[in-house]
């Protein structure tokens, strides 16, 4: 009887899972009770645990909600009755008694102005008949005080004053780390801008020369090339959006290749194999075009008789794989490894830039994979996840004409 068999199997699985769960739970109980350690160890653990939980709210652009969440952990770390985090632009987060806000702001201002911890005793509270003491310590990040921590407790002892000072220094370190993250992002953005600037001089010069050679002999073609040139520069120089779709990137590659073919003539053949599933995949802006440009400029330009470029985009379940292959002169693997590792920039700077940005956005396992040797052609492969809920492809703010060309 198959149904009863299935039932028995299901019951067996459930019972087995429960048994395993119980054993794991018991084991964890035994292990933790053994390993809780001495009071000092436990206090250390407690402090570090609270610190690490608070830390994640202190990085980056702090909002009032972030500060409030961090404040909760910091207050239990200090054992204070109430705790206020006062940051610049009037951002105040209070954990505990809300009525201390006015005092907290004043003390914070004094602490930031003097750069020294401030202690005030016997503060009357609105909500409570008892009086409380307060200590404020400045948060000094990058040589200047950017805010203050104000702890309220009755009474404030020397220990709390010292601890508040330490906590303020620790918060300052977190804020500085956040700024480091921000400057890293800014650096990456600057790199993208640098890449946009790098395409131009060489390519613009060659393209204009190629166009010029057609003006008298074939004005229609010259006109078409000028339009391609306009499309290409429009896409490359656009100001907004860090991401685009594979389809748009391919369009810009098309314009680019048309211009190059005007120069190369029949010496440049291109094969394109695209799975339509990946066309709407989001990729970093200008992440495929530099690979093609690298293939043309460093693979085929110096090869006698030109060659072929093959661009493929495949669907691989949760990922899209894009490869650019040329049968040109190839690259010395060691030299390329040096360039990708951040060594002497020169040739292949486009590859390095794309590699760095892919790693930064998707993690180290999504860097470029390059298969090459001298005289053996080059194959560059990138693999990006299709699912990127946080990222939208900024569209070129122009409407597509029916033939696919962009009109301004």
């Amino acid at each position: 009887m198959p149904e009863s068999m299935l039932l028995a199997a299901a019951a067996g699985v459930v019972a087995g899972a429960l048994a395993v769960g119980v054993v794991v739970l018991l084991r964890r109980l035994v292990v933790t009770s053994k390993e809780l350690g001495t009071d000092a160890e436990r206090a250390t653990y407690e402090t570090l645990h609270l610190a690490s939980r608070a830390a994640k709210h202190l990085r980056g652009d702090m909002t009032e909600a972030d500060a409030a969440r961090a404040g909760r952990h910091l207050r239990s770390m200090l054992g204070a009755d109430s705790l206020a985090i006062v940051m610049p632009h009037g951002l105040v987060a209070i954990d505990g008694d809300e009525s201390v806000r006015r005092v907290a702001e004043r003390l914070a201002e004094e602490a930031t102005a003097t750069g020294k911890p401030q202690v005030q005793r016997r503060i009357a509270l609105a909500t409570d008949t008892a009086e409380t003491d307060a200590v404020a310590a400045p948060i000094r990040a990058g040589g200047a005080a950017v805010g203050a921590i104000v702890a309220f407790s009755a009474p404030v002892r020397a220990g709390l004053v010292r601890a508040t000072g330490e906590v303020a220094d620790w918060v300052a370190a977190q804020v500085e780390l956040g700024e480091l993250d921000a400057s890293r992002t800014a650096l990456a953005e600057a790199e993208v801008r640098a890449l946009r600037a790098q395409i131009s001089p060489h390519f613009i010069y060659n393209s204009l020369n190629a166009i010029a050679s057609f003006i008298n002999t074939d004005p229609a073609k010259a006109r078409e090339l000028v339009l391609e040139f306009a499309d290409f520069t429009r896409y490359s120089f656009r100001r907004h959006g860090d991401f685009t779709t594979v389809a748009e990137e391919l369009r810009s590659i098309d314009s680019y290749l048309k211009l190059e073919r005007a120069r190369f003539g029949d010496r440049l053949t291109v094969t394109l194999q695209v799975a339509p599933e990946v066309l709407s995949t989001v990729v970093p802006f200008l992440s495929i075009q530099p690979l093609v440009e690298n293939a043309v400029r460093h693979g085929l330009e110096s090869k006698e008789g030109g060659g072929r470029i093959t661009i493929t985009a495949e669907d691989q379940g949760a990922f899209a794989e894009i490869t650019v292959e040329d049968d040109g002169v190839g690259i010395d693997p060691e030299g390329l490894a040096d360039v990708l590792a951040g060594g002497t920039p020169g040739e292949h700077v486009g590859l390095r830039n794309v590699d760095a940005r892919l790693r930064q956005v998707y993690g180290d396992e999504h860097g470029l994979v390059v298969e090459t040797n001298v005289g053996a052609g080059t194959l560059v492969r990138m693999r990006v996840p299709k699912s990127q809920p946080g990222r939208t492809a900024a569209s070129v703010d122009a409407v597509s004409r029916p033939d696919g060309r962009l009109v301004p």
Binding site: L6, A247, T269, A275, G390
Partner: protein, 489 residues
């Protein structure tokens, strides 16, 4: 019938699918047709692909068999399978397309900002996918047995091995064309025989049962059980929303509008398709009443052409039907295996190429073991139960996630687990429980009508109780889901 024809039909479909899978990329040799290659998939193509992926063994063989067995009750299945797309069109297609999340686990993680919600969803998606593949393999076993006379297990093993091999070898580099091809193959494979049979019947060849016996009032619409019908419709309408392989297809659309248009075309295509299994079922009631036994009824579509049309033409029609049936098993299973392998490799194996291959093999082999260990119990019915399970687990989270800003990770997890436990217990333990308490039998045979509302209520109540943990990015995320693309530019 002649086994050679069966072999040829099966081999031809398998080879054609594999070839399209491997070489189905759009190739252009010159830059002049660069635009052709870089143009996104037209809604028509995509709709055909969705149809190809969606029309499984249950639709191709199961519906006709169920009409033969139970009469007009079975007509609710095609209605439900098609109308599920109406729900998809109305509530899910465009917003999900705009979310940028590629799978349901990705969606729940992005919407609820919780890795735990993701894990629970992933497990459910994998379980649903596995149990959806099982009926496909059972259908393949039946088809191979009838077409070639080989033992049943050969069919299941063949489909599982073909699908796992092709997917793991990277053969689905562009699955859209494979699925679109298989949709039109399936439609042809049912439509041509139906017209041929109607022609033969109209020219008055074989003897039919008298209408009163073929279509007795007891199997007609007057005899419907309201609860069962409502519950089945809830399962089919809402279950279609959460099927993993269906949702993935919408990402091939360039934007939300195209996603909606695609769904509309799918509705049309499915409506046309379902005319033919229904016609087969009705013909079967009149001309092949002896097949109306559990286990054999699903073979009606395969056997009827040979019975009514003797000689070579009958063999050719049979070959066409067998090919279509194989297309149904292959397309649905490969679509499911691709999306399951994506989820498994991403969540468990780090998302590497090798992980994807291992996951593809695992996603085909686990259902194979289940299919070999269990007896087939009616294809349309078992797929209906998978729909009920999907409707009680993923559907509440998907709908509330898109349309209600108050959903929290805890609410979603609580709802999914409640739905899974209730509907899972009803489906697996139904026979044992109703043997002890006979009164609850209909409730357990079609559980969706009570498990879905309970799952939704649990989700809502736990989310309300957990109000402080509404994800911080919810407003931004929801506005992204609901604001049309061209206005955000």
């Amino acid at each position: 019938m002649n086994p050679a024809i069966g072999y040829v039909a099966i081999a031809a479909v398998a080879i054609a699918s594999a070839l399209i899978g491997f070489y189905g990329l759009r190739v252009s040799r010159t830059t002049s047709d660069f635009y052709v290659a870089s143009r996104t998939v037209r809604p028509w193509w995509n709709a055909s692909a969705i149809g190809g992926e969606y029309l499984s063994a249950a639709s191709f063989l199961g519906i006709a068999g169920l009409i033969l067995l139970t009469g007009s009750d079975a007509l609710w299945f095609p209605i439900g399978y098609t109308a599920g797309y109406l729900m998809l069109l109305l509530f899910v297609a465009a917003p999900l397309r705009r979310s940028g999340a590629y799978t349901i686990p990705d969606f729940t993680e992005a919407r609820l900002e919780s890795p735990w919600a993701r894990r629970v969803t992933s497990i459910l998606v994998i379980v649903i996918g596995w149990f959806y593949i099982v009926p496909q393999l059972q259908g393949a076993a039946l088809t191979v047995r009838i077409a070639t006379g080989l033992p049943s297990w050969v069919g299941s093993v063949a489909v599982a091995v073909i699908v796992a091999g092709v997917v793991a070898a990277g053969g689905m580099r562009s699955i859209t064309f494979v699925q679109a091809f298989q949709f039109w193959l399936k439609l042809t494979a049912l439509a041509v025989p139906v017209f041929a049979l109607l022609f033969v019947v109209a020219s008055g060849a074989p003897a039919a049962l008298p209408p009163v016996e073929a279509f007795p009032p007891s199997a007609g619409p007057g005899d419907h059980d309201v609860y069962r019908t409502v519950s089945l419709m809830v399962a089919l309408l809402l279950g279609a929303l959460g099927l993993p392989h269906v949702l993935v297809r919408f990402y091939t659309n360039p934007d939300g509008d195209a996603a909606r248009r695609t769904t509309l075309i799918v509705l049309g295509l499915l409506s046309v398709f379902y005319l033919f299994p229904t016609a087969f079922g009705l013909l079967g009631r009149a001309f092949a009443p002896d097949l109306a036994t559990t286990g054999e009824a699903d073979a009606l579509v395969l056997l009827l052409p040979g019975r009514l049309v003797p000689g070579l033409w009958g063999d050719l029609l049979t070959a066409l039907v067998i090919g279509g049936a194989f297309a149904a098993f292959l397309s649905t299973s490969s679509g499911l295996v691709v999306s399951l392998a994506g989820v498994i490799s991403q969540d468990l194996l780090g998302g590497s190429v090798r992980g994807f291959r291992i996951a593809a093999v695992a996603s085909a082999m686990v259902p194979l073991l289940v299919a070999l260990a269990t007896e087939p119990a009616g294809l349309a019915g078992s797929v209906g139960l998978v729909f009920a399970f999907t409707a009680s687990t993923l559907c509440p989270v998907l709908l509330l996630g898109i349309w209600w800003r108050g959903l929290t990770a805890r609410g979603a997890i609580a709802g999914m687990i409640t739905g899974a436990v209730l509907s899972g217990a009803a489906i697996l333990g139904g026979a044992a429980i109703s043997a002890a308490v006979p009164g609850v039998r209909p409730l357990l045979e079609q559980p969706a009508a009570w498990t879905v509302p309970i799952a939704v209520l649990v989700t809502v109540f736990v989310s309300r109780a957990d109000r402080g943990r509404v994800p911080r990015g919810v407003d931004a995320f929801l506005s992204r889901l609901h604001v049309p693309e061209h206005e955000t530019r």
